[in-house]
Amino acid sequence: MSKPIVATTSLAGCFGCHMSLLDIDEKVLDLFKLVELNKSPLNDIKKFNKKCDVGIIEGGCANDENVHVLKDFRKNCNTLIALGSCAITGGLPALRNNIKLKECMEEAYINNITTKDNNKEEIIPCDKDIPKILDRIYPINEVVKIDYYIPGCPPRAKLIWLTLRALITGEEVDIPYEVIKYD
């Protein structure tokens, strides 16, 4: 049997979930014995060059580029996993969801202490090359269908490892309560 192919990406996340993925220490070597990695920041492959079995997504959608990447993942991966709070609920970035976008942008580019005296023309950057910011953060399951969710901020390394192993080997996972208990 050929190795399953995995792709990963970080949308509006902090890369913490990816760090947690690496936190499985030497099991990383086992993981890569089991899978082949396609598009991912870990190997810097920028574009899908094969159909993948599993796509792992960190972070929600904050801008149009996130949306395009996510849809691209859905198209190219059979199974999509939302990894971590940001992907599942919007997470920390979603704190801005109750504030109007205009106010957020003005705070970021015009009114805050570092820009106050340095942006006299009150410019809010915009260019066809920069992604357009969405009106709020969208959890990824509002944009495309997601098959599995791994909770946590970040999810514990062991939880990621157990889930991936189960998905790859097809064996049932037995996740100990402590691994998904957060309070």
Partner: protein, 592 residues
């Protein structure tokens, strides 16, 4: 308003932090609002941080931290009011006063606010203006009311003018009609005040407890817990003092039967409380009266004074060794405060957040002393049981539901009001009594209860079948159940959740969004599956009844009106509602 004004009010309550509600109510009564700048002063006086004071003030609907108008108009946004034309009344008030909803006019003359059900579902559209109730409003009445307010007419005078009455002493009946549509053998019936008290004081407490237990009286506030058993828990506690609390919060939308008892038969309630006190060895009674009913406070207070004069309250009641007093504690607008432990928290001047149990109020309730909380109607049954005996009481009703029940019938029917029925009546019989045509659904027990369809109308009203604290909202065939009724109920729970439990705070909103999605034609079978599984989660992981029942409007319509959902749901696992153009529209506008 100066520091010394506030200090005077604090002094009136001996700087007692357990009386914070009264302190805040007095400040608001006198000055119209409670300015933030005094939180510190109040806190210091009663021994709380200013943040704690703020917690309490901001929890309740009727407390305001900024001026709310010389005339503050509250309109019920509950379903029955909406069905009866509340939106038109709102529009008229808004046009005439120049206020948008939930705002105050520029000259601070008018404030116009939304509030949940005010207990007038039999005479909506209704409004509370400066604590006075205006019922059966019409556009024409609104015009006249606003005209009089513009001339600074005192509120009582406005009531008398609008309702053409000169009976000042009878103002409460001028404002609110009783609408007693069916009297019964137990409650809505003659009673000689004090008679059961005198009879009780001649027996020993154990005998009375035995009588109440034997009567199979069950709580009328919703849960139906056997009253005798509840009392017995409290008798076992040796701590003193003990408290008898009457729950007159009547917050379930569509309910108004306690209002009618309080207005017409307060003696039954007072005597019930005194007898409870004697039985449990409690010397203090407190009536927790919802703010919406504050128009009844002076009336009840005068009745209590009469009781004192007749030595039915006070020291050595009717020449016995038993002392008992009753005070009225006003709430300030919060549905969850009807939950007995939230009610206790509120009486202690705190946010109305339900407590964890155990310990139960019977051992550790108000000010951590043994406390029994009973509904108005439950306590009002007690004197009748004492006078006529438990066997007589059991001769009404069914096997597991002894006695009679007051129903508050409202909505799409020709005959809304309060009906005393025997337990065991079917919904069909009830509908006939209420003069209905073409009934689509009955909301049994209000938003937290069940929305049932025609197929269920042969079921019985009693604890063993359809339990209700009294609310019966009739929904005619002309209504859109999923567009009008269910979202209104969900909004109610979203607003009224105290926020302590995550599922109650969060899932309520998610569920509402799912319903919106379904109504937009984007619902999937997965959405229904999710809602059903959330129902289970809500039952298991919320602290109080509010969260446990908050999804009932959805769950029961899914169960009893499956065809309404089937019509809307696509047989798909997933549909995205995301629209990139819409999601970037704000950005495009900002950077244009």
């Amino acid at each position: 308003m100066t520091n010394s004004d506030i200090q005077e009010i604090l002094g009136k309550y001996n700087n007692d932090r357990f009386r914070l509600m009264d302190i805040l109510l007095d400040i608001q009564d006198k000055y119209g609002y409670i300015p933030k700048k005094f939180f510190n002063l109040i806190g210091q006086a009663v021994g709380l941080s200013s943040a704690k004071v703020e917690e309490t003030v901001t929890f309740y609907h009727f407390f305001h931290t900024s001026p709310k108008g010389k005339y503050t108009i509250y309109l019920n946004d509950g379903i029955v009011a909406t069905m009866k034309g509340r939106d038109n009344i709102l529009k008229q008030f808004s046009e005439q006063t120049g206020c948008q909803i939930n705002s105050v006019s520029k000259d601070e003359k008018f404030g116009l606010f939304s509030t949940p059900c005010i207990g007038m579902s039999d005479q909506e559209p209704a409004a509370i203006i400066n604590k006075h109730i205006f019922t059966n409003l019409t556009v024409e009445k609104v015009n006249r009311i606003v005209r009089l307010m513009k001339k600074d007419t005192p509120i009582q005078k406005i009531i008398q003018t609008i309702y053409e009455s000169d009976k000042v002493q009878n103002l409460i009946h001028t404002m609110v009609t009783d609408n007693i549509k069916k009297t019964g053998s137990v409650l809505l019936n003659k009673y000689k005040r004090g008679s059961a008290v005198k009879k009780s004081l001649n027996k020993n407490p154990e005998e009375i407890l035995e009588e109440i237990k034997n009567s199979n009286l069950r709580g009328r506030g919703g849960a139906g817990f056997p009253t005798g058993t509840k009392w017995e828990f409290c008798t076992k506690s040796k701590q003193k003092p003990k408290f008898i609390v009457c729950n007159a919060d009547e917050g379930e939308p569509g309910t108004f039967k306690d209002r009618v008892l309080l207005t017409n038969y307060p003696e039954l309630l007072f005597d019930g409380m005194i007898i409870a006190g004697y039985t449990l060895g409690a010397e203090h009674g407190i009536i927790y009266l919802r703010y919406e009913y504050s128009y009844l406070k002076n009336f009840l207070q005068s009745k209590l004074e009469q009781y004192k004069k007749e030595n039915l309250l006070g020291k050595k009641i009717v020449n016995s060794d038993f002392n008992f007093d009753i005070r009225i504690q006003l709430g300030a607008g919060s549905y969850v405060c009807g939950e007995e432990t939230a009610l206790i928290e509120s009486m202690e001047g705190k946010r109305g957040e339900p407590r964890n149990r155990p310990p139960f109020p019977a051992s550790c309730g108000y000010v951590n002393k043994p406390t029994t909380v009973n509904n108005v109607e439950t306590l009002s049954c007690v004197p009748k049981i004492i006078n006529h005996g438990s066997e007589w009481f059991k001769s009404f009703g069914t096997e597991e539901s002894a006695g009679t029940k007051l129903l508050s019938i409202c909505g799409d029917c020709g005959n809304s009001g309060v009906f005393e029925i025997e337990f065991g009546m079917t919904i069909n019989e009830m509908l006939e009594m209420a003069d209905t045509i073409e009934t689509q659904a009955v909301v049994v027990a209000g938003p937290s209860g069940k929305i049932i369809s025609e197929n269920e109308f042969n079921r019985k009203i009693c604890f063993e079948d359809l339990a209700t604290a009294g609310a019966m909202i009739i929904i005619g065939k002309q209504r859109n159940l999923l567009e009008e009724v269910v979202p209104n109920f969900l909004d109610f729970f979203i607003d009224e959740s105290c926020g302590s439990c995550t599922p109650c705070r969060v899932i309520t909103t998610h569920a509402k969004n799912r319903l919106k999605k379904i109504l937009a034609g984007k619902g999937t079978t997965k959405d229904l599956k999710d809602i059903k599984s959330w129902g289970n989660l809500m039952q298991k992981s919320n602290r109080c009844g509010l969260g446990k029942t908050a999804l009932n409007p959805l769950l029961t319509t899914i169960k009893f009106f499956p065809e309404l959902y089937e019509r809307l749901i696509k047989d798909k696992e997933y549909i995205s509602e995301f629209n990139l153009e819409k999601a970037t529209a704000d950005y495009e506008k900002i950077t244009k």
